[in-house]
């Protein structure tokens, strides 16, 4: 299977996303004979193998059921095993578009982290692009490499274990875009400039703190990057509900004489369907700083 190409039927070895509820999804690699315990009961892998993605699969001996979904980078982001703080789909969407990514783009990323951004980038640059991703933490790099392989993405990505802040990317004139998710992104700017194509490219740096982007922007300016912009993008998810607001009982207009009604409320309601904002929402994930490296003018 491959995360970057839909298939119809789930087969042994495939990753499926088991959907119990909106808040409860799990990735599962199918192995005939194995059983996955859900809170709706035991789920036999064999019952998924051979069925169409998106089918209902019974579990708990037919008492409950789940859906077996085709993996996407977005579902993966929601369900992946966290090894680090991850970047979520709202920011990934924005950086993908703002880095002008498309099939064929060559992208450099550091750090790989839990691979959340990597999967989404690979999806977009496939089948002809390539992702060079760098991770300073050895185990994480290995784990990511393994996952990319399991997800059928190996040919599209090169994982390197390296501290790019001290040792650089070791790439020159290859990348259309660079994505930095580092504690000290400014330390990677010079190396990122080197990695970008001489014909120009885009850079994005993701940082939670203002001080980080201040230093990064300074560095970008001094290295000749242009159009430096920093944005914040927040997602608000609404709850669609039917609301019934009671109409107040203002009494009878003809007379003040009245007996107290039981409950004191008029029977009528002002009823409407509404998209109710959540009580709490993500207030900050990080600042996304973007910059353009323009082609150097040929001095003739």
């Amino acid at each position: 299977m491959s995360f970057v190409r839909y298939k119809e039927t789930a087969e042994e070895g495939d990753v499926v996303i088991i959907y119990l509820t909106h808040e409860s999804m799990f990735p599962l690699t199918l192995e005939a004979g194995r059983i996955f315990q859900t809170r709706f009961g035991a789920l036999r892998h064999s019952d998924i193998i051979g069925t169409r993605f998106g089918s209902k699969v019974l579990c708990g001996g037919g008492r409950g059921y789940v859906y077996a979904l085709h993996p996407t980078p977005e579902l993966w982001t929601l369900t992946l095993p966290h090894r680090t703080q991850i970047v979520y789909t709202t920011d990934i969407s924005m950086l993908t578009l703002q880095l002008d990514l498309k099939p064929g783009s060559v992208v450099v990323e550091s750090g790989t982290g839990s691979g959340s951004v990597s999967h989404a980038v690979i999806r977009t640059i496939a089948p002809t692009g390539h992702l060079y991703t760098f991770e300073f933490h050895q185990q994480r790099a290995e784990k990511a490499r393994e996952e990319f392989s399991d997800h059928g993405l190996s040919s599209l990505v090169t994982v390197t274990h390296r501290n790019v802040c001290t040792d650089g990317f070791g790439l020159s004139d290859v990348a259309d875009a660079v994505f930095l998710d580092l504690p000290s992104p400014w330390e990677a700017v010079a190396s990122a400039k080197l990695a970008l194509k001489k014909a120009g490219g885009r850079l994005c740096s993701f940082s939670p703190c203002v001080e980080q982007i201040q230093r990064t922007c300074d560095k970008l300016r001094s290295h000749g990057f242009c159009d430096i912009t920093t944005i914040e993008c927040l997602l608000r998810t609404f709850d669609v509900r039917s609301i019934a607001l009671p109409e107040p009982d203002l009494g009878r207009p003809d007379t003040c004489a009245q007996t107290q009604q039981e409950g004191g409320e008029s029977a009528e309601n002002f009823t409407f369907k509404s998209a109710v904002p959540p009580k709490d929402m993500p207030g900050h994930t990080g600042f996304l700083t973007f910059a353009t490296l323009y082609p150097q003018m040929e001095t003739s």
Binding site: F136, H137, P183, S184, P208, C209, V210, E211, E232, R236, D239, R241, I243, A244, L245, P246, E247, P248, D249, L250, G251, R252, P253, D254, T255, C256, A257, Q258, T259, Q260, Q261, G263, G264, E265, N269, F270, F272, S274, V276, P277, P278, K279, D280, M281, P282, G283, H284, T285, F287
Partner: protein
């Protein structure tokens, strides 16, 4: 000053609890138990350590984490080498329990935790501070005793049981008070299903100068949070209750008669009761025009709302109201259910302590009770008069009902060139209200707004917005009243609302 009989807020870390200061009463909060006796007489805002269930005043920097200065912020350390696998702490839970048992102070326990944490030195100074903060919340037994300010009360309810205050966030409440131009010496109408929070806010801004009409729902003017403000008793005299289910008869010709007549007699016979009511003193020039011939019998023969049982049932009544609210906003049900039991407050009922109540028959005949009942009836009649004069200065609505009928019923009570503000947790009812007011006319500057509020963490090298924020603070509709078109035949000049609409759309 922390005074016996007054309400105070007890703060432990980020958790607040409203209590009445009493001697020899044990307070439970956040797993702490203590008596307030030692705190009585000390300034509000004092900080204490709890030791052996007693309070001992401490300086304010006790137990506060040191914020590393910029120089100390080492960006080189990045927790890279740290494996967070819960094996870094050598002390077991049993060790800690034993230490606590032997009376170790919070600081000593934390010191031991740090020394026995294999990773602590590898952490960045910020991770260290975060660790200390986390452990401090758990092991340090500091509390602060604070004045229950509007700010703290609103935040406390929002954190604990937002549905009790209709999700009215502090910034939205602040807009209401400002846009409504609430100030001393004004005459304000308040409709409040926020347990009296808005009522208290308005009274605080009026400081017992002016008139505050509380339009209440149900048998009894409920004002739980209002009582937390510790207002002097004199303030109460400027507050007049008026039952919501008599609003419709406020402006019908028949009832204007009733009300005015009844009130006139009240003013004459109870002149001394109206002290503190500006409206009674300022006889406005236009009141003359509104007077109508009346017959006293009408109002006297009308059976009024029976308040006799009100005090007795007000508690369960409020529970009914809460569940109505919960029905309308099902997502809060859980919070509400939980909040119901452990809402951090020990306020008495609005009319004072009713812990020991005489048997029903006795109570019914109790002369003090009958006197209170008579007084309330009189105050309702005073409210009626004030409302009917149509000369109020402000109107704030924050309630669980659809606001449109209330706004339509109460706007005629405002003088022209006065402001009103209507809060609703949802925007659809305010869109309805906006539309109806446009059609009605007599209002300018109608604005439907929402505010967005986010905290920003400012720390050396680590400044950023807070990772979580409130999804909504509700919606506000505000406007300014103007004189209504009385001459309906003059169609030469366009009605103002139409004109405004053309200008602003």
């Amino acid at each position: 000053m922390i005074a016996e009989g007054e309400q105070v807020l007890i703060q432990k870390a980020n958790v607040f609890r409203l209590v009445k200061v009493e001697r020899r009463k044990k307070i439970f909060t956040e797993k702490l138990q203590f008596f307030l006796d030692n705190a009585i007489g000390l300034p509000l805002g004092s900080k204490f350590e709890v030791r052996n269930k007693q309070l001992f005043q401490v300086p304010h920097d006790s137990g506060v984490d040191q914020v590393p200065s910029e120089a100390e912020v080492d960006t080189d350390k990045n927790n890279e080498k740290i494996q967070d696998d819960n094996r870094s702490q050598k002390l077991t839970k049993e060790d800690l329990k034993e230490m606590a048992k032997q009376g170790a102070k919070g600081e000593e326990i934390i010191e031991q935790l740090v020394q026995n944490n294999a990773n602590f030195k590898e952490k960045t100074s910020f991770s260290q501070a975060k660790y200390l903060r986390k452990k401090g919340k758990k092991y340090l037994n500091y509390i602060t005793i604070l004045r229950p300010t509007l700010r703290l009360l609103c935040n406390m309810y929002m954190a604990k049981s937002p549905s009790k205050i209709c999700h009215l966030r502090v910034d939205t409440l602040s807009q209401m008070l400002t846009v409504g131009n609430i100030h001393a010496h004004s005459k304000v109408i308040v409709v409040d299903s926020c347990q009296g929070l808005v009522l208290g806010a308005v009274m605080e801004r009026m400081a017992g100068l002016g008139t505050l009409v509380q339009v209440y729902h149900g048998d009894f003017p409920f004002r739980h949070v209002y009582d937390a403000f510790n207002f002097p008793a004199s303030f109460d005299e400027t507050m007049l209750p008026f039952p919501m289910n008599q609003l419709n008869c406020l402006h019908s010709p028949q009832s204007i008669k009733d009300g005015l007549q009844h009130d006139e007699s009240a003013v004459t016979s109870n002149g001394e009761e109206s002290t503190g009511l500006d409206v009674m003193k300022d006889t406005e020039p236009n009141v003359e025009d509104q007077k109508v011939e009346v017959t006293p019998e009408d109002s006297i023969s009308a059976p009024r709302t029976d308040l006799s049982f009100a005090e007795g049932v007000s508690d369960s009544k409020e529970k009914n109201e809460s569940s109505t609210t919960a029905k309308a906003s099902s997502s809060d049900t859980e919070v509400n259910m939980k909040g119901e039991g452990d809402l951090p407050t020990e306020a008495p009922n609005a009319d004072g302590s009713t812990r020991k109540r005489p048997p029903w028959k006795e109570y019914k005949k109790d002369p003090a009770r009958l006197e209170r009942q008579r007084e309330r009836k009189e105050r309702i009649e005073q409210a009626r008069t004030v409302l009917q004069q149509g000369n109020m200065d402000g109107l704030l609505i924050a309630c669980k009902f659809h606001p449109s009928p209330l706004v339509e019923a109460l706007l005629p009570c405002l003088a022209p060139s006065r402001t009103f503000a209507v809060y609703c947790q949802h925007r659809e009812p305010l869109v309805d209200c906006y539309t109806r007011l446009r059609g009605r006319g007599g209002v300018l500057n109608l604005q439907l707004t929402e505010t967005w509020l986010r905290n920003f963490q400012i720390l050396p090298g680590r400044s950023r917005p807070d990772m979580q924020m409130s999804g909504t603070g509700g919606y506000l509709l505000s406007g300014i009243t103007v004189a209504m078109e009385t001459d309906t035949t003059s169609s030469t000049t366009e009605p103002p609302t139409k004109k405004v609409k053309m200008e602003t759309d």
